[in-house]
């Protein structure tokens, strides 16, 4: 035994048609539901890896797709749909650059700081439109048992169409699962979005991931549904 220490590191339901149908539905879901930036997504995955993230809340939903061209940098595009009030709904479409600014890999935990910047456009459903800038910060720490995360997503748009979203999360895993098993986390989430009438939102979220898939369902104090899905590929 040797030890080398490393200093650092057809319509007949063929698989093809099922796959095509799956991606068609995914695309439809993207268009229809399309949260602020990919709030709880992984902004950077792995070299040549991609991530698709969808989040739905009745008043704030979104989608992000990104491709990591290095282990620390990714290019992506995010779509945010924000129902500002009963009469105003805005869509932001922003190409963005994500970077893993810092990662701490420890034997039993991992911590990250991600930064994102983007430039795109917004469109109001009543016809107003213009340019938009995005800046995001994500900081997280997780072990197999515990999970914390903070996000700040800021969109500066022409006119009175800015969007500022801050979120903090803490979570605990009731049990520890193996790689080929479903891992769950119970998460408490608080969110602040000053552009909403009900700016503060608090609620529980249940997270489950299996292999490269992640799903979340939750609810705010007002009974507003939160749904999230993410896939790495």
């Amino acid at each position: 035994m040797s030890l080398i220490a490393v200093s650092n590191p057809s319509y007949a339901l063929s698989p093809q048609h099922l796959s095509l149908h799956f991606w068609s539905w995914m695309l439809l879901a993207l268009c229809y539901f399309s949260p602020l930036s990919a709030a709880h997504a992984h902004p950077v995955t792995f070299q040549d890896g991609s991530a698709l993230f969808l989040k739905y809340q009745p008043k704030l939903s979104g989608t992000e797709f990104n491709y990591s061209y290095t282990p620390r940098s990714a290019l992506g595009v995010t779509h945010v749909r924000f129902k500002r009030n009963a009469h105003e709904t805005e869509h932001y479409l922003i190409p963005k650059w994500n970077t893993l600014y810092q990662r701490w890999n420890k034997p039993s935990s991992q911590a990250n700081i991600y930064l994102s910047a983007g430039m795109g456009a917004f469109h109001q459903e009543d016809g107003d439109s213009g340019g938009a800038l995005l800046g995001s910060l994500q900081a997280d720490w997780e072990s197999r048992r515990y999970y914390t995360q903070f996000n700040a997503d800021l969109i500066q748009a022409e006119g009175d169409n800015d969007l500022h979203h801050f979120r903090a999360r803490v979570g605990v895993a009731p049990s520890l699962a193996a790689f080929d098993e479903i891992q769950t986390f119970l998460i408490a989430q608080v969110s602040y979005l000053p552009e909403r009438a009900e700016a503060f939102q608090v609620g529980p979220v249940l997270r489950a991931f299996y292999g490269r898939y992640l799903f979340e369902v939750g609810m705010t104090q007002d009974g507003e549904f939160i749904g999230t899905a993410m896939i790495h590929f």
Binding site: V6, P9, K106, S108, F179, F209, Y210, G211, R212
Partner: protein, 96 residues
Amino acid sequence: MSRILIVLVAIFLMVAEANAKDVRVTVNGMVCSLCAHGLNKKFLEHESVEKVDIRFDEKLVVLSLKEGAKIEDDEVQQIVEWAGYEAASIVREDKE
């Protein structure tokens, strides 16, 4: 003659070292299946790797190599870094 024999034995041992062994890679930061997915995918893309076994409890990625195939330490380290992690150690063991 004895020198030639020693050289041949050394070469044999080196080849045997790289082949017919499981490679046990201790990875720092590997705490969830989404984290490990990149490692799993990247190692499986290597032509020498037949199977990848992720063991969270031991912080280990165990690589089963194809018959007669080999993977160098620097390749293992590079793949772990591509996945965004750090290899704390690389250990080679005879297959059970």
